[in-house]
């Protein structure tokens, strides 16, 4: 089968690799019909997250048709021919974390838990197409994928809804939604959202679904700010205004009730501290550039909430802990507990509350993935979200 392989920093290649097989009783094999490039894949593309292996198959946002089911899965859970969206987190369903519905913290799905324990104390769940610290599972930017614990994760999709409307249930819609839920929104609240990429777009719309009165969206890419305005957000371009001053003015010296960092470790900014972060990251003295989370803490209202769906890999410097403590803030984080959100959000899509396909800018055959990574990273061609079609030939595009 064709698969997008990570061959090193800024080096994605499409290779012909063996088709996946069932390895464990609760595995299933999915024939993939749509798969996406995620912003968090760009952190791997840029080489900032440790424990990748040359040859790893990328991708954690995919859907398709079940073509094989392991002996440990009962037919009423999943059977050949089912059309499913696969969540990016892998969960066993029966450990203490899964029982607490902390699906992205599953105790049993990471075969390399010991590496994560060295860094984080305890290991979160395994992920598709991500680092070996988080399992090293082959991903879904391919024609087929092996899905472990397939009786827990994949959600069945009825016929009649196109892939483009539901494929984002695999990550970015639930991730934006959980980011908004983590803001503890009360009716009428003001939420500031840093980052208007795909997750940011879903976060903005989810804030309104959860009752926010105002959403202030921060970015510098014109088409992304326009997309945020289309959802009803007010927007700030950090190239043009001082964000802290603008938020102070807009909230009457109160600050937003909640601040959301949908940017993570590769944030852009201005000034001397940004230059230092950038230098440290280039020297590999630090993996993260935590500008946004610092700004969010300073900007946030007293007693407010900082929600962080953005991806961080390790340690961050110069966090304004004094502001965080003295203002009595709460920070909520986590990889998305996917299985909490997939069914309710599918129902919202079916009801017509939202059509997630608005975020797509590019639909490409899988052979064009290496170029698509670069286009998406550099935000060229107004690229907001790339959907790859594993079975389309390059000539047809």
């Amino acid at each position: 089968m064709k698969a997008v392989c990570w061959m090193g920093k800024e080096n994605m290649q499409v290779h012909n690799v063996p088709d996946p097989t069932i390895l464990n009783p609760r595995d299933a094999i999915i024939r993939i019909t749509s798969t996406c490039i995620c912003g968090s894949d760009l952190h791997l593309y840029d080489g900032y997250v440790p424990t990748m292996e040359q040859g790893d198959i990328m991708g954690h946002e995919f859907m398709g048709e079940v073509v094989e089911v392991g002996p440990g899965i009962s037919r009423d859970k999943l059977k050949v021919g089912d059309r499913v969206v696969v969540p990016f987190t892998i969960a066993c369903g029966n450990c203490p974390s899964c029982q607490d519905k902390l699906w992205s913290c599953c105790d049993n799905s990471n075969p390399n838990a010991w590496i994560a324990e060295k860094m984080m104390g305890y290991s979160p769940s395994g992920l598709f197409g991500y680092t070996h610290m988080l399992g090293g599972y082959a991903g879904g930017q391919a024609q087929y994928a092996r899905v472990p614990f397939a009786d827990i994760g994949p959600i069945k999709i009825p016929e009649g809804i196109p892939d483009e409307k539901v494929v984002f249930l695999s990550d970015i819609f639930p991730t934006g939604y959980m980011g908004a839920e983590n803001c503890n929104i009360r009716p009428g609240d003001t939420v500031a959202v840093w980052g208007c990429g795909p997750v940011g777009q879903f976060a903005i719309r989810s804030c309104f679904m959860l009752g926010a009165g105002r959403v202030i969206a921060i970015d510098r890419v014109p088409e992304r700010l326009a997309m945020a305005r289309a959802a009803g957000a007010e927007t700030l371009n950090f190239d043009e205004v001082d964000i802290l001053e603008a938020l102070r003015e807009m909230t009457g010296n109160q600050g937003p009730d909640a601040c959301m960092d949908v940017v993570g470790m590769e944030a852009s900014g201005h000034g001397i501290v940004y230059a230092m972060d950038r230098a440290k990251q280039m020297m590999r003295a630090s993996m993260d550039r935590p500008i946004v989370v610092r700004q969010a803490i300073i900007a946030c209202k007293k007693g407010g909430t900082v929600s962080v769906p953005g991806v961080y890999a390790s340690f961050i410097d110069n966090v304004p802990m004094g502001a965080y403590v003295n203002k009595g803030l709460t920070m909520k984080t986590g990889q998305t507990h996917m299985m909490r959100y997939m069914q309710p959000l599918l129902e919202r899509i079916q009801r017509g509350d939202i059509d997630p396909s608005f975020v797509i800018s590019h639909v490409l055959p899988i052979d064009q993935a290496p170029q698509a990574y670069k286009t998406f990273r550099d935000k060229q061609e107004h690229c907001t979200k790339v959907v790859l079609k594993p079975w389309d030939s390059a000539a047809a595009a």
Binding site: M1, A3, C5, W6, M7, G8, K9, Q13, H15, V17, D19, P20, T21, L23, N24, P25, R26, G47, Y48, V49, P50, T51, M52, E53, Q54, G55, D56, I57, P71, G72, S74, C92, G93, N94, C95, P96, C98, Q99, D107, N108, S109, N110, P111, N112, A113, W114, I115, H132, G135, G136, Y137, A138, A142, R146, P148, D151, I152, R284, A285, M287
Partner: protein, 250 residues
């Protein structure tokens, strides 16, 4: 003694079982690999190599018995945990270095362990203590080439959130095979026992142990292959049969 941590008797670390020379070579390799790779992992690896070298230079390399313990909270009852462990033919399903255990009678068993170059090492073991649903202890027979003993305890969580499973394993290097055994089984005794109990928990809770061995991938090249070994992925073998004790609650 803190029962929640793996530990080594005496004041020696696990690296003593490899010998300080071995550690130094490994450390140098890590350092060199880390520096030449010049990428995301490089700094961490080079640092790890440096630390390892420093630790190794401080220790004097005399081997002592390894005594290591690991505890995991498992979402199951003491009865189910005891039943899975008490049938020693199950041990190979979660002990990474054990190839098979044949149960000879109620208390005796024959263990086959993966040795160097896939050579098998065998010994006979007997159960020395068996308290139903609470504790099992075993040791190799005195005439075995390998001197080893172990025990496992099952204690219910006070609020009913599962069972604490604590395994203790001792290896005493000695006899003709001592060096081989120390190198292969004992070089990371702490790691080994922790991973064994972790896999035991996965078997009971998930019905299988997670693995990526045998999955598809692109060309690994030199770097990919080295990284696989560094991440110790070669030991994550799949368990082809679902555990009987696994109750599907989800």
């Amino acid at each position: 003694m803190n029962p929640y941590n793996s530990q080594i008797s005496g004041d020696k670390g696990p690296q003593d079982f490899l010998g300080s020379k071995g550690i130094l070579i490994g450390a140098a390799a890590l350092l060199a690999y880390g520096i030449t790779r010049r990428s995301k992992t490089s700094l961490a690896l080079a640092t790890a190599g440096g630390l390892l070298a420093a630790t190794s230079l401080r220790s004097n390399g005399n081997s002592q018995a390894a005594h290591t313990r690991a505890t995991f909270l498992v979402n199951t009852s003491p009865e189910k945990a005891y039943a899975l462990w008490r049938d020693f033919s199950n041990l190979a399903r979660f002990m990474r270095h054990v190839k098979s255990v044949e149960v000879l009678d109620d208390t005796h068993s024959e263990w086959v362990v993966r040795g160097p170059m896939d050579k098998e090492i065998r010994w006979y073991a007997e159960i020395t203590e068996d308290v139903k649903n609470e504790r099992i202890s075993w040791r190799s027979r005195p005439d075995s080439l390998v001197q080893t003993s172990g025990s496992v305890e099952f204690r219910p969580h006070r609020a009913g959130r599962g069972t604490y499973v604590s395994a203790t394993v001792r290896y005493t290097p000695g006899g003709t095979l001592s060096k081989t055994i120390a190198t292969l089984l004992g070089k990371h005794p702490q790691f080994m026992v922790r991973e064994d109990v972790r896999r035991f928990k996965a078997l009971l809770e998930a019905g299988e142990t997670p693995t990526t061995i045998g999955q598809s991938h692109g060309p690994r090249g030199v770097h990919g292959s080295v990284e696989q070994v560094l991440f110790r992925e070669t030991g994550n073998l799949a368990d082809p049969q679902a555990a009987q004790a696994y109750s599907k609650t989800a």
